[in-house]
Symmetry: C2
Subunit: 420 residues, 2 copies
Amino acid sequence: MGEAWSTVNEGRQWRRLMEMGEIGAIAGPDGAQGVNRACLTPLDRKARRLLISWAAPLGLKPSVDPLGNLFLRQEGADPDAAPVLSGSHMDTQPNGGRFDGIYGVVAALEAVQALREAGVKPRRPIEVVAWTNEEGGRFAPGCMGSMAYAGYRPADTWNAAEDGDGVRFAGALREHLAAEADLPRRPLGVVEGPAPHAYVEAHIEQGPRLEAEGKDIGVVSGIQGSRWFVVELTGETAHAGTAPLSLRRDAVQDMVRAVEALNALMRDPSDVLRFTVGRIEVSPNTSNSVADRVRFTIDFRHPSADVLRERGDAIEATVRGAVRDCGVAVTERFNAQPVEFSPAVVGAVERAAKAQGLSALLMPSGAFHDAQFIVPLCPTGMVFVPCRKGISHNPAEYSEPAQLAKGTRVLAQVLAELAG
Amino acid sequence: MGEAWSTVNEGRQWRRLMEMGEIGAIAGPDGAQGVNRACLTPLDRKARRLLISWAAPLGLKPSVDPLGNLFLRQEGADPDAAPVLSGSHMDTQPNGGRFDGIYGVVAALEAVQALREAGVKPRRPIEVVAWTNEEGGRFAPGCMGSMAYAGYRPADTWNAAEDGDGVRFAGALREHLAAEADLPRRPLGVVEGPAPHAYVEAHIEQGPRLEAEGKDIGVVSGIQGSRWFVVELTGETAHAGTAPLSLRRDAVQDMVRAVEALNALMRDPSDVLRFTVGRIEVSPNTSNSVADRVRFTIDFRHPSADVLRERGDAIEATVRGAVRDCGVAVTERFNAQPVEFSPAVVGAVERAAKAQGLSALLMPSGAFHDAQFIVPLCPTGMVFVPCRKGISHNPAEYSEPAQLAKGTRVLAQVLAELAG
């Protein structure tokens, strides 16, 4: 098939990313332009329609599954063959960047377009996919689209999840599907249909290693596991001027005690463990009232399934042991086991990077990705490209056009190999 | 003048409080009905209009000053005499009750009405006053109306203060004054006009002492001092899955360190000191991003001016010493010195309670009140009534109709004495 990847168009891909970055654009510090494009919003739909408009001239056929996952299918020489999937997500964090997620979607389209332009006619269909709600920024947890597609959780699992305005996921999804009613519907992934042949996802690293080591391509070996929890502490509100401290049931003070104890539980001199309290909601949240309720989140990650199980299972007892005056409820919202990617796909990424003369680093992913949930279905892997200073989930997120094009060239060659 | 206080009407006062409690009514736990009536909102204006409608048949004349403080004036036999002021505030905490503030306004009106019905014709004018924004729930700090009236702060001090929706105080006040444009305007308190002769404020205790000791009336000796601060910690956001803990500048973790250190600074085995972190805002406040910014409030109170100065002045250094990775900004938003009330008014309240056969307790106030700022202007005092379990700033806040009427009878006698 020759150098199929040589037709990847750096400028076209960059212009598309910049055009996507206008949809939900926000101003960041120091002149940086970020993106706030929450899932299942009019902005999300605008981005999806833009993607479809680019795919249409290539003859790619759109379809939408019951979770809103969007597929753009290029038929193969053998239309009955299981398809090769490639993509990522189009939603962002509230204070997100222009590359996280959207790069993998635009790169998959660019790879398909490059293969066509190079005259490559794969035996298998190739489907570009945009998974619904990877970020979990509007509705927690993330990866709902890929989890439902893979049958990892039933499709109705998150119906009652609420966004910050009290809108339920079920309602937002219903509204979204109504707005997309002109697009063909397809059954829900392997729950209702056949398994794909393989899945490959391109993504910015979201960490500093590739840049620090001067590498072009991250050959991703697997993804560390993640567990998300919500802790709710319930005390009693009181007047800040009159209530004696000894008689208070102050949810803020118990939150501080709980976080201190969790820091001790999560101590890791090797600095591999990731533990984050990123969201705190206080009620009534006025300066002169003792808080009667605090909800806070725990994001805990580790490459070892044993560490993830042992320390994660100890979270509730740790919080209960630390809290002095409040009622405690700990709810696990997300549990993604560590995964190892398929040697077949990892090998294909390594071979492609080598064939193209690019420097590569075999590395695990610190962030979770939709790919994590596709692993049980079919050979799966990922391609990382460097991002500046490892910054992500931030308007300052940046990756150079040439770096992004290198990743897409590797992706194109891998897709060509897997699609046969 | 006879038993002027005997015409205080328990039922009428209770019905008025319940009618006021419908304006901004919210449902609390266990069937309790609370109130959320933020200052300078349509609900606040509705409550003010209701008050004016009750005062009009009595011939009381409304007027509004540049801070929105509302006065209802009964002329005295000598209209040139300095008036006696009595009132409180009509705004509530977001999750407030039906008595805090509004009781003092309704009681003042009831006392004036009772004196009229008893045929008492005081020499001095009596003005019922409703101060703007005592709570500080919408715009921090509280007591803006009384502080500006007393010249404690210039009237434009808080123009840039923002509510949770980003509305500035100056804009909300402008809108309010425009909506009240049909009411006569008056100059701003002692800044532009003469001092009052005396000020007396009735209020629920907001603490447990009167109930616990079985007393009818709290003879308030003074108010402890309050200092409010806002602490802003600025770190850097990062991806919760990739950023190593050792490299983070996590504003949530530094907030926990700061609160721990402040707890140590504020330790008080005698349990007299009040220290509260009641409001926390986290940015970007998503579960899988390291927080780059946390703002939290400090409410610190003590009866001793020395303690208030020494520990309050140590707050900034304590936070800076505790924080590990973030930038620190500490801003003082409110500073009310402890005050002692006038022996003349304290004595009048004691005498009235005794004359009416009520049990009384001489006590300081743990909460601050508008009265705190009137102290430098004229003889000032307060009358407390018990409230159930000391609960306030909460829908469960409750005081019995008979208790409230006893407080108003004492207030009526005190006003009659002071107005001559």
